[in-house]
Structures are given as C-alpha cells and as structure tokens.
Symmetry: C2
Subunit: 309 residues, 2 copies
C-alpha cells in the first residue's frame, strides 16, 4: 500500500460564471465539488493507475464530512483521515467562461490542536508499518509546527519506507534537511529553497541540502531530475493547452508509482510527465484521461546521463 | 408568531482577501458563515426586535445542516425548514480589504422535486394556522413553479393572515396578481414590474396590478410607500456609509413588526428605514446595532399625506 499524507485536506469547489467582474454579483451556472489537497489528488491518480492507496491527514466539520463521503466513492483509496474539531477548508476555483481563466480563493484551514497533532503522529507510525512508499504533500494547517514534515520524513526513514516530500517555503526547507528520498519542487519553490533561479544549479544545490533525489517541475517544459543514479530532463511532446490544476500532483503519482514498481529513473520521469500532460489536457481540472496518458507516454522525450558507478 | 418563508435558503459565506485580482490565486484571511436567504435574514431581525418567528422553506445536504445548526443558535427563531434531497446553495461574498468592495458569487440552489414542493405547501398551510403575518422572500430554487408565490399569497389570504411579498421578476409579477397585502420591491424590481423608472408612477401602477400596499426601497433615499391609508416618503438622516447587504431584509422586518403591532403607516416606515440604516452602518454585513437603530429612529423624516376617508 502507498500512503499519502494531506495535513490540510480541502473540499475543492469549482464555480463557472459567465464573466468574473470584481465588485459585482454573479450567478454561478455550474457547481462541482471534490476532495482536494495535494495528497488526496495524488491518492486518486495512484488508485487510477491500479495501486492500493491509504490517504491520511485531517478532516473535520461539514466540509470534512463532504470530503470523506466523496472519498468513499473513490475505488482503491482507503480513508484513514483523522477527525478534528475544526472544519476542513474549502478552495473555490471560479472559472470565467469568456476567457477560460480561473480565479482561486483558498481558505487557510482549521486550527489543529496539540492533542490532534500528537494523535496524527501516532497514527502515521502505525500506517507506515504496511506502506511501500509515502508522499507528504501540500501546505500545513494552522497549529501544525513548521518542522512537521521534517519529523514525518525522519519517521519514514526510521521505518525504512521511501518518502517523497512535495511542499514549499519553510516546511520544505526543514523537511529537506531531514533527508527525504525525493522532493518535487516547482521552479518557484526551488528558487525559494536555494536562492537560485537557474534550475540546473538549484536542483544540485537542493541535493546538497539533503534531498536524495530532486525532481523539479518546470511547467510546460517538463521535469528536471538530479538523482544518485544520474540526471535527466523529461519533456512532453509539444505545447500543451489546458488547465494545469493538479498536473504537479499527477507527476508525484507518476514518480511514486514508478518507485514502488522499481522502474529505472527515465521510465519514472516519462510516466510522471505523461500523467502530468494528460491532466493538463483533461476537460475536468485535476482528472486525467487514460487514453491521452497512453498516447503521451510514447511521445515523452527523456535525455540525460547515468552517473558513472 | 410571524412566519417567514425562504424557499431558496443559503449558507452565506464571507471571505476577506487583501485584494481581489481575477485570474490569480488568493489566500482568504478570514472566513465567516451564517444562515442566509432573505427570509432567514428577516427572521433574525424580527427575533432581535423581540418577536417570535418561525422560519420555513427548504434545507438539504451538508450546507443545509450548517444552516440549521446556526439557526438553532439564534434565540427567538423556530426552525421549520423542510428537508430536501438537494444541497442548500452557498453564496460567497468576497470582501476586498484594499477597496472595501464586495464581489458576490451565488449558487443557483438545489433542484426541488414535485413531492418536496407538495410537502412544503401542506406544511405551509399548517404553519399559517398560528401566524399573525407571513413574509415570502427571495428567489425560487430550480423546480419550484414560477407561480409559487401567487399560490402562497392566496393561501395566506384564505387563512386571513396578512402577507408581505419580497421578490423580483416573473415570481413577483404573478405574486402581485394574487393581491398580497404588501410588496417591497427595490427600484430595479419595481421598474421591471411596471415598465416605469419613475418611482411615484411605478408604485401607483404596482397597486393597480394587485398589491394592497407598495413600499419601494430607493436605496440611500429611503422608502416610498403607497397604501390604502395614504402615501409617504421616509428618509434616513444623512448620507450613510457602509455595507447595504441585508438592508432590504431589515426593512421588511420593520414593516412586518409594525404591521403585527398595529402601528400607523408612518411609524412602520420610520422603523423600516431606521433598521435598514442601522444595518448599512453595522460592521458585520446583515447585522444591525440596536443602539444605532434607536439613535437613527429619532432622526428619520416621514413626509406624506393620509388618504381622505
């Protein structure tokens, strides 16, 4: 089983409006809801790839109930979210039908109490027992200490479970120092971590800071990976049009599934890029089309070299 | 007991953001939730004035549960909302901290089935039995026939219960023809009903269409009333600054409480204008400050004349 951790899970709400104009009233023409937060997105893609996934983190209030009801309808994902007193946050994506652009409103998330955080840490150790890999994803809700991911990375390493960390800012900085197996920053997160806007230099620097492998997502240009086995660039076939929401989470699912299947790095990267591209192309944000994935997988180019033994 | 009907109740959510910019992502700094929909706002103000209120209409899903939980915490309001299969709509008000302006996103509301609508009509007749007045407020959710308010007005008249109608468009046009005791259109609704943008002429015309009394709300200029007893203008003391959300609902509560207390029309109008102005001035949208209300009540000017007997 692959374990995904979503400390700040969300009820993702998508509104369609004819045209978003600040300071006026809008009739919402279509409302969609789904479980959100990076770790739950990763879990959904892993399950679609045929993996057994357990999703943990926090859920509370009416919004938490809505997340869990929808998770129960997702085959392959086991709900191991811990109940908390506060309400799970909402994210609202407002899609402008005229321009196709999206405006995002993100609630901060519930206050997590010390007892709730302690209960999570205990549950996490128990869940690691049956895990082949673990992904730690997304922002921290208020009340969770900024060094939380560092502790969870150490826990995974102590249990001998490979751990991928996908977050930003200070939680990433501290998490990297605890030596995770893989980090997957985007270019902004990578620059903030290393102080360098030059991706090649920055991925190397991130490895020196403690990450065993660094896979930087460079948007439409694909992935740049520095690993103990070598370094590669993996690029999608052409300019992709669509909605990039969830593309990074699909890449994480690709990397993680490739890891537990013991694929060589170039194959893991090709899978991650193809899943990511199929997510951008999908009509519904954050979903991916299996046929598009298969077609794109054959057309991803991976270039690079293996480190001399 | 005063009965308020909110067929399209809502969970009103208010977000504060630093500055709303379309097509970008925003961190919401503050989240507030409260029961919404015009009839529930009217109920809250009536209860604050010391009246016993029963609130009916529909509530469903997680959002309906949230509305009912919060209603249970409102002293003086009895929850008689009917459960439905669909989820109660959300409204999202995004307050821009830099400009103070509000951008509104309104969900359409749940689909109401024929059996649910029939069940409501039965419950309504039973509730009218103990009512001293009834307010029919707001938009109709999908599935409720456009002539719904006309039927509810006729039901109230058959039961001998004075009925106030506060809605717009075709539901107002049909409702007026059923001869409600009071309608309270704003200038846009009044113009749409009568085809006239001249408030004096339009209120007279609306009476000819069937409304016994017409109280037009003219925003910062206060109220214009045409009734069988006479016609009046009631104006707040000066230019008011603040948030007009819920001001119209406070005016309805003022008119309705004045009616059941048998106040003469000028006193009802003064109360409605003072409540409305106190709502605009309140720091929280849709609330009103009792001290501001008392102070404003003494400063409302009512001019007009009584119809010769």
């Amino acid at each position: 089983m692959i374990l995904t951790v979503t400390l700040n899970s969300a009820l993702d709400i998508t509104y369609r409006v004819r045209s978003l104009r600040p300071h006026s009233a809008h009739r919402v023409t279509d409302v969609r809801e789904r479980p959100g937060g990076k770790g739950l997105n990763v879990a959904r893609v892993l399950a679609a790839l045929g993996h057994e996934v357990t999703a943990t983190g926090f859920a509370g209030g009416g919004t938490g109930r809505a997340v869990r009801e929808r998770l129960a309808d997702t085959p392959g994902v086991t709900d191991a979210l811990l109940p908390v007193a506060g309400a799970t946050r909402r994210t609202v994506a407002v899609v402008d039908e005229l321009t196709g652009d999206t405006t995002q409103l993100n609630e901060p998330g519930p206050q997590i109490g010390p007892a709730e955080w302690a209960a999570f840490q205990d549950a996490y150790v128990n869940l690691l027992d049956g895990a082949t890999a673990v992904a730690l994803c997304g922002s921290l809700p208020p009340g969770v200490p900024v060094g939380a991911y560092a502790g969870l990375v150490r826990g995974a390493r102590a249990a001998g479970v490979p751990v991928l960390l996908d977050t930003g800012g200070e939680p990433l900085r501290r998490g990297v120092a605890a030596r995770p197996d893989i980090i997957k920053p985007n270019s902004g997160e990578l620059a903030e971590l290393t102080g360098s806007h030059e991706p090649l230099r920055a991925t190397q620097d991130a490895r020196r800071r403690g990450a065993r492998a660094v896979v930087a997502s460079l948007g439409a240009q694909g992935l740049l990976a520095h690993t103990p086995d070598g370094h590669w660039r993996a690029a999608p076939p052409a300019c992709l049009r669509g909605n990039p929401t969830g593309a990074g989470d699909s890449a994480v699912a690709g990397l993680l599934s490739g890891l537990v299947e013991n694929l060589p790095w170039p194959d893991r990267l090709a899978r991650a890029v193809a899943l990511s591209a199929a997510t951008v192309r999908a009509p519904v944000a954050g979903e991916f089309d299996p046929a598009a994935y298969a077609e794109l997988l054959a057309r991803v180019t991976v270039t690079g070299e293996v480190t001399a033994a």
